[in-house]
């Protein structure tokens, strides 16, 4: 049994067969009509029965923002917390309750701006959390300010002359923060989204899934380059572990390594260079190639955006290590004896 399966075993299984309906709460969904969040909610609700976990052992924790309303709509345990802090709260829950499947739902502002610190530390610790980062490249709930993933020069209410700061690439950031699982998917591609969620759920440790999500009110069409059938062919690089990294019409384009710099570049595949096309290895111990892949995308046009699982490696999981230390302490010192602890080694007796 792999470590991954061993960890999932800690969460009790559902006794009866589940359906999507079991995961819908009785609350009316209040996102704007046409919001990409609906598609993600439906995908998650539809995917949960595949996992087959006892519903009462599943917890969704969120921060603040449009996406963070997500837990209210899941018929599981849930907490809608405060801005940016969901990874910290979920860390306490997951590390004290290993029988739970803990999911964090967050957005680009929540996770990368106000909560950036908690996100990177959750990733480096490798706590058993599944983090769904809905990236719409805009602040929706506060009505349309630019976000830390907005392209430079973004015209918004708070940046009428264009935003000045360079955006984060969440996937690059996560890989840099020692993440053991990093993936990217798109709200409108249900099949791809579900497959990425499945891999994330099975990953032992922190899994970060960036989901490109359309805000049809404040940033409509932000990911159109990746969705429009014709344009997507040239823009999207679908990664599959063990497969050559090719895209474009008939796989005409491929990713190769520049032997001079070691960096990656996109080339037109020919008979001569076909053998040089990189084969995607999500399980590589070194994060170098995954990072290089994450840098292929143009932050403005989104051309050459890799989607799929960029990195998935096994390394020790924080909550497992923490539980192991507790077990070791009991083995070494015996189960705690309160009377002995309170008395210590230096006492004196007063007799009446």
């Amino acid at each position: 049994m792999t470590d991954a399966n061993a960890l999932l075993q800690l969460v009790p299984k559902a006794e009866a067969k589940q359906s999507m309906k079991d995961f819908k709460s009785d609350q009316e969904v209040r996102w704007c009509p046409g919001c990409g969040d609906y598609a993600i909610l439906a995908a998650v609700q539809g995917f949960m029965p595949q996992l087959g976990l006892a519903r009462e052992n599943v917890v969704f924790v969120s921060g603040i923002g449009c996406s963070s309303r997500f837990p209210y709509y899941m018929n599981t345990y849930g907490m809608h917390s405060i801005h940016g802090r969901a990874p910290a709260i979920a860390t306490g829950l997951a590390s004290s309750r290993r029988d739970l499947s803990v999911w964090v739902v967050t957005g680009d502002g929540d996770a990368l701006s106000i909560g950036g610190n908690h996100l990177i530390h959750a990733l480096r610790r490798n706590v058993n959390l599944k983090i769904l980062l809905f990236n719409n490249r805009i602040y929706g709930l506060t009505k349309g300010q630019y976000s830390p993933t907005s392209e430079v020069g973004k015209i918004t209410k708070s940046t009428p002359m264009g935003s000045l700061d360079a955006p984060f690439n969440p996937v690059s950031l996560a890989i840099g923060a020692e993440a053991s699982f990093v993936a990217r998917t798109v709200d409108s591609d249900r099949k791809h989204l579900t497959e990425v969620l499945r891999q994330a759920a099975e990953h032992p440790g922190t899994a970060l899934v960036e989901i490109y999500q359309n805000c049809n009110i404040f940033n409509d069409g932000a990911f159109e380059a990746l969705k429009d059938r014709e344009r997507a062919e040239e823009a999207v690089i679908r990664l599959e572990h063990g497969q050559p990294i090719r895209f474009g019409a008939d796989g005409a384009k491929g990713v190769v390594r520049d032997p001079a710099t070691g960096d990656l570049e996109v080339v037109t595949v020919t008979a001569a260079n076909e053998g040089d096309v990189l084969v995607h290895d999500a399980h590589s111990t070194s994060p170098t190639t995954a990072f290089a892949l994450s840098r292929l995308a143009d932050p403005d046009t989104l051309h050459h955006t890799p989607i799929g699982v960029l990195r998935s490696v096994e390394r020790p999981v924080y909550d497992t290590l923490m539980a192991d230390q507790l077990d070791t302490a009991v083995e070494r010192d015996g189960k705690g004896d309160l009377a002995a602890l309170l008395a210590g080694t230096d006492t004196w007796t007063v007799v009446g």
Binding site: P12, S25, Q27, A54, R55, E56, N57, V58, V59, V61, P71, Y72, M74, N75, Y77, G78, M79, H80, S81, I82, R85, A88, I89, A90, T91, G92, L93, A94, S95, S96, R97, D99, L100, N117, H118, H121, M322, Q325, L326, T328, A329, V330, R332, D333, G334, K335, G336, L338, A339, L341, L342, A343, G344, D346, T347, W348, T349, V350, V351, G352
Partner: protein, 645 residues
């Protein structure tokens, strides 16, 4: 009372045998004087090991059975520049044959390891006090560094004191010449030489320190042996040198303590043990989410040592994550705690507000220090009371409990846990730097006498809808306590969502309804106001007209000042608050019984402000915000002035 030390007379058998087992006894024919109490202050550079020396002397004194109270005082810098005034670290210990309440106002004995230590502390000494100085450090340069143009050891400026010039460094190096140590290494043991000398002067048991040194340097037996040799050399020096003609006995405080097993304990240690005990009494795993901060870090360190009690400690990336993780663990059914000091509370405020809204149990331990901002990290203050009461957005009432002595931190932690678990609320535990690092004897409780904190998680549905459906309502309250059910994840059928948005009474669903919000705000307040806290006890044997009201760590100095006044024939009543929110139900009635109410605080009048606002009494403040606890004499004078006014 048992005592490990026999009187010197019994040992004066004319032999040279000074070691009985590992226990050293005075054998000489020097005078022995009896004292009822002594205040000693060890002072030196931050790197001189003064805190360790003080701790050891305290342990010896505790095991001898004296009552005691300690005041460590050190700079925030780990190693401030050597020989400078800001780098001086000191440890004051007051011990007695009767019960005492404070570390003492003015030392009877000062051990000054260098000119800076002398200069920084001599002003606190009464005339006639004994000063032991390490003459080796009184070089021209070292003296000039702290502004001594002439040597205070020779210029007559210390004429009013009983000066013992001792070349501590030279004597230590000489005593260790048999050891294979560099001069620098040998010099490091000079604090143990000083400890040995003082242990001789005050007939302290020596076995504990020798055992301690062996254990501390178990992996370096040479260093252990050198330290023990220096310690014994110091002891022998006192025994043989002419300069120390007298040694002193302070008898055990036989009548000061009720029967029982005792130990010495500091506030932070007592608080840590209180949390572990609360976890056991509640039968819930303890989870601490914390970020290192002075003077609270020792609680994180201590709890991290007790994983075999099922204690999980999480050193977070920041203060916010510390409390966030704790709140997450509380949602999962742990007894959750975060520990910090004032600046950390400021960062945690939003999450405390969330805990108020979620109505989950959570202990917020604030070891107060000097503020504002970074302030005085290693000094004490009581200036976070209003922050704990009001430092959040919206109407967010939080109960506040404050221990009064180092040992009381144990019981206060259990009490804070009782309130948190019973009422499903965050609770502030307001300790401070003085309680945290100070120590005193503590009667070790039997675990069987600790309060039962058993908790019942929600197990099933608790509400029937109009259509007859049985449902779980996360905000359907207990009619007595107004606490909501605690349904932890993993409980089938009770799946629910909670959050910081206002929720509908009962169902807990999001609600923006104006009337519902008004109701929920008032209900959360009513829940806290309705917390069952014991009535305030008043100590008023003489039917006084003036009440002194305190809270927290001022208990020792206030009680000592009140004793002084009563001894001088001045009637004064005393009461001390442990619960600051809610106040005891009888507080208003108590206040109205007195013509005058005086509130001494180590802030600018925060409790007085609350008292004046709530009870419309003309409470007078007496304030000191200098980073140090009140001195009993000054406080007594101030109280007298208020009484006579």
């Amino acid at each position: 009372m048992t005592s490990q030390v026999s009187s010197p007379a019994e040992q004066a058998d004319g032999t040279d045998e000074t070691v009985v087992g590992a226990q050293r006894k005075p054998v000489g024919t020097k005078d022995v004087r009896r004292l009822d109490r002594v205040i000693i202050r060890f002072a030196g550079d931050s790197g001189d090991g003064m805190q360790l020396t003080g701790d050891r002397f305290t342990s010896e004194t505790a095991s001898f059975g004296n009552d005691l109270s300690t005041l460590p005082n050190f700079p925030a810098e780990i190693r401030a520049p050597a020989g400078t005034l800001p780098g001086v670290s000191s440890f004051q210990l007051h011990f007695a044959d009767h019960d005492i309440l404070t570390p003492g106002d003015a030392p009877n004995v000062l051990v000054a390891m260098n000119p800076a230590a002398l200069k920084a502390n001599v002003g606190d000494l009464p005339r006639g006090a004994e000063i032991i100085v390490n003459t080796d450090e009184f070089t021209r340069r070292a003296m000039q560094k702290v502004g001594y143009d002439t040597s205070p050891l020779e210029d007559g400026s210390l004429d009013g004191y009983h000066l013992h010039p001792v070349p501590l460094t030279t004597l230590t190096v000489e005593a260790l010449k048999e050891f294979d140590l560099s001069r620098k290494e040998a010099e490091r043991s000079k604090n143990m030489f000083a400890l040995g000398l003082l242990s001789w002067m005050y007939h302290r048991p020596t076995e504990g320190t020798e055992k301690f040194l062996k254990a501390k340097f178990a992996k370096k037996p040479d260093i252990a042996a050198a330290n023990i040799a220096a310690y014994r050399a110091g002891w022998n020096f006192g025994e043989t040198t002419e300069d120390f003609a007298v040694s002193y006995e302070v008898a055990p405080a036989a009548t000061a303590f009720p029967p029982g097993v005792y130990r010495n304990i500091s506030g932070n240690l007592a608080l840590s043990y209180g949390l572990i005990a609360a976890s056991r009494q509640a039968d819930l795993p303890l989870f601490l989410g914390s970020y290192p901060i002075t003077p609270a870090s020792d609680i994180l360190h201590e709890l991290s040592r007790h994983k075999n009690f099922g204690v999980r400690t999480f050193q977070a990336e920041d203060e916010i994550a510390g409390i966030g993780a704790a709140l997450g663990a509380a949602f999962g059914g742990s007894l959750a705690v975060t520990t910090t000091s004032g600046p950390g509370v400021a960062l945690k405020s939003e999450t405390i507000g969330l805990a108020v809204s979620l109505e989950l149990p959570l202990l917020v331990v604030d070891i107060q220090r000097g503020g504002p901002s970074t302030g005085l990290p290693t000094k004490t203050e009581q200036a976070d009371l209003l922050q704990s009461m009001y430092g959040r957005n919206g109407e967010a009432p939080v109960p506040v409990v404050a221990p009064r002595t180092p040992a009381d931190c144990f019981g206060a932690a259990l009490e804070a846990a009782r309130i948190a678990l019973t009422y499903r609320t965050p609770v502030f535990l307001l300790s401070d730097g003085y309680l945290a690092n100070g120590s005193e004897p503590w009667r070790v409780p039997d675990p069987d006498e600790l309060p039962d904190l058993a908790v019942r998680f929600a197990q099933g549905t608790n509400h029937t809808l109009d259509d007859g459906t049985e449902v779980f309502w996360p905000y359907k309250r207990d009619p007595q306590t107004l606490a909501r059910p605690w349904a932890v994840p993993g409980t089938p059928g009770l799946e629910h969502r909670i959050g910081g948005i206002e929720k509908q009474d009962g169902s807990g669903n999001i609600s923006y309804d104006p009337a519902n919000h008004d109701f929920m705000v008032r209900t959360r307040q009513a829940k806290i106001d309705g917390i069952d806290v014991p009535d305030l006890a008043v100590d008023d044997p003489d039917g006084a007209r003036t009440l002194v009201l305190g809270w927290g760590s001022t208990y020792g100095p206030i009680t000592a000042a009140v004793r002084r006044l009563r001894t001088a024939g001045v009637p004064v009543a005393q009461a001390h608050l442990r619960h600051l929110n809610p106040f005891p139900a009888n507080l208003g009635e108590v206040l109205k019984r007195y013509d005058k109410v005086v509130v001494p605080e180590m802030n600018l009048g925060q409790l007085a402000t609350l008292i004046r606002a709530k009870y419309l009494v003309d409470a007078r403040s007496y304030n000191q915000v200098n980073g140090m606890p009140f001195k009993a004499e000054q406080l007594a004078a101030a109280l007298k002035e208020a009484i006579d006014d």
